[in-house]
């Protein structure tokens, strides 16, 4: 019997059947895992999460869409200040997370 840690630490995977075992002392599978550890065994390490893509990084950093809506409204009214500020913020994000 071998086990593997999971990326987010919520459960342990029992590799024989890919069962997700919670760290609940009342769970008999977890008790068996603790016994296995006590016998000197070591679980396989968790997979390293993949690096986020530049799209994911940019998506989480762009200014809110509400800012764009507000800037668009005022731009239609002839006031471009908010739109220019919004675009500058977007450019800063693109610079921070290049392709």
């Amino acid at each position: 019997m071998t086990y593997k840690l999971n990326t987010y630490g919520i459960t342990i995977t029992r590799l024989v059947d890919n069962a997700s075992i919670p760290a609940d002392p009342a769970n008999t599978d977890y008790a068996n895992y603790l016994q296995w550890l006590a016998e000197g065994n070591t679980p396989e390490p968790a997979d390293i999460p993949p690096e986020p893509t530049y799209q994911e990084l940019r998506a989480s950093a762009y200014p809110p869409a509400a800012d764009f809506a507000d800037a668009y409204y005022w731009a239609q009214k002839g006031n471009l200040a908010l739109m220019e500020a919004y675009l500058e913020n977007c450019d800063a994000v693109k610079l921070l997370y290049p392709k």
Partner: protein, 367 residues
């Protein structure tokens, strides 16, 4: 036939022990008196009737096969005594003589909450009665035991099978144990064990409480030693008192719900666990494109403990640890878990909008 019509029946001695057919009806021995779950052997969520033969397997819900050596197959059977529809069958493929330290048996580990009223481990411990139907190709004196969680208290019982391949009804009265530690929480309260063949390390005198882990008595019949032997049990009931009452037939939905506290699945009745199928699969729609998707599983009943979960994709080629969506099987994991439900999530796998992710699952918090 005579008929009696009265307004009340009173104990002649002024007490509360008037008996009917040998037992005294009380609040505690009417509905809910049987501490054994699936004693009628009707619920099989795991195997769709197929036999199991490995140590630790569950041939039926709540019943565990414990096996050291030998080859024995355990399954739900449609051979049964009157009043039942199923039994639990053990078939010995090749006879095997266990060594002193080996044990073979079937057991039910009963949750402490459910047997706390026995009051075991202290003065005033209540007597209980174990009753069951048995049928075997072998005859003679058979054995079994009742044990506590820590296996340091044991009561070995015996019963006689007098005719081969005939159903016989057995009752065993067990005096309450005033010693030892008997858990009354969601851990193992007590273990009810039917011995199928155990070595001399497990021998003890029958009919009394012993220290240590005991299963049988010297000289008892050991079915696992005989090639081709069969052994059936059904109608297993454990109740407080000293007189066995008729088997408590619960409604199917009640019995299933009791079993689901320890094991549940979305698979349809009769479909073997692990089958790759979309029928009855669970899932959710994704209404926006994204890299993550979680399937929330709400359990039918609150489970005994946070369960271990296995999940499968539903498309051809799926394996454990996957869900399916957008025409492919994707790696997934349990991202949140609790006694009421879990979330099974795809992990950093692209998912489009307007598609579904689906899976089948099992959740186990067995004792």
């Amino acid at each position: 036939m005579s008929e009696i019509s009265v307004n009340s029946i009173l104990d002649a001695s002024g007490g509360a022990t008037t008996t009917i057919n040998g037992f005294t009806p009380t609040v505690s021995n009417m509905a809910g008196r049987n501490k054994i779950i699936n004693g009628g052997m009707g619920i099989d969520q795991r195997n769709a009737g197929a036999a199991v033969s490995t140590n630790g397997a569950f041939p039926l819900d709540r019943w565990t096969l414990s096996k050291d050596g030998g080859t024995i197959a355990a399954s739900r059977s449609t051979v049964f005594p009157a009043g039942f529809t199923n039994s639990l069958l053990f078939s010995v493929t090749t006879g095997y003589t266990p060594t002193a330290a080996q044990q073979n048996n079937v057991r039910q580990n009963t949750e402490g909450f459910n047997v706390s009223d026995f009051g075991w481990g202290a003065a005033g411990a209540q007597s209980v009665v174990l009753s069951f139907w048995v049928r075997s190709s072998l005859t003679g004196t058979f054995a079994g035991s009742v044990n506590n969680s820590a296996y340091n208290r044991s009561y070995v019982y015996t019963y006689s099978v007098s005719a081969a391949n005939i159903w016989e009804y057995k009752t065993v009265i067990i005096a309450g144990d005033t010693s030892g530690t008997w858990l009354t929480d969601n851990s193992v309260g007590l273990r009810v064990i039917f011995d199928l063949g155990s070595g001399s390390d497990y021998n003890a005198t029958a009919g009394v409480w012993s220290a240590g882990e005991k299963r049988n008595t010297a000289g008892a019949v050991q079915p696992i030693t005989t090639s081709g032997a069969t052994f059936y049990i059904t109608g297993v009931q454990l109740e407080e008192g000293s007189v066995a009452t008729p088997f408590e037939h619960r409604q199917y939905g009640q019995e299933l719900a009791l079993c689901q506290r320890y094991f549940q699945t979305n698979y349809t009745d009769g479909v073997a666990i692990g089958t790759i199928t979309q029928t009855n699969a669970i899932g959710r729609w994704i209404d926006a494109a994204g890299n993550y998707a979680g399937i929330l599983v709400n359990f039918a009943v609150r489970m005994r403990a946070v369960p271990s979960v296995v999940h499968w994709g539903v498309l051809a080629g799926a394996t454990t640890g996957q869900v399916s969506g957008d025409g492919t099987n994707k790696a997934a994991l349990v991202s949140h878990s609790g006694q009421w439900g879990v979330t099974i999530s795809t992990n950093n796998v692209a998912s489009g909008s307007g598609e579904s992710v689906r899976c089948n699952y099992t959740a186990s918090s067995e004792l």
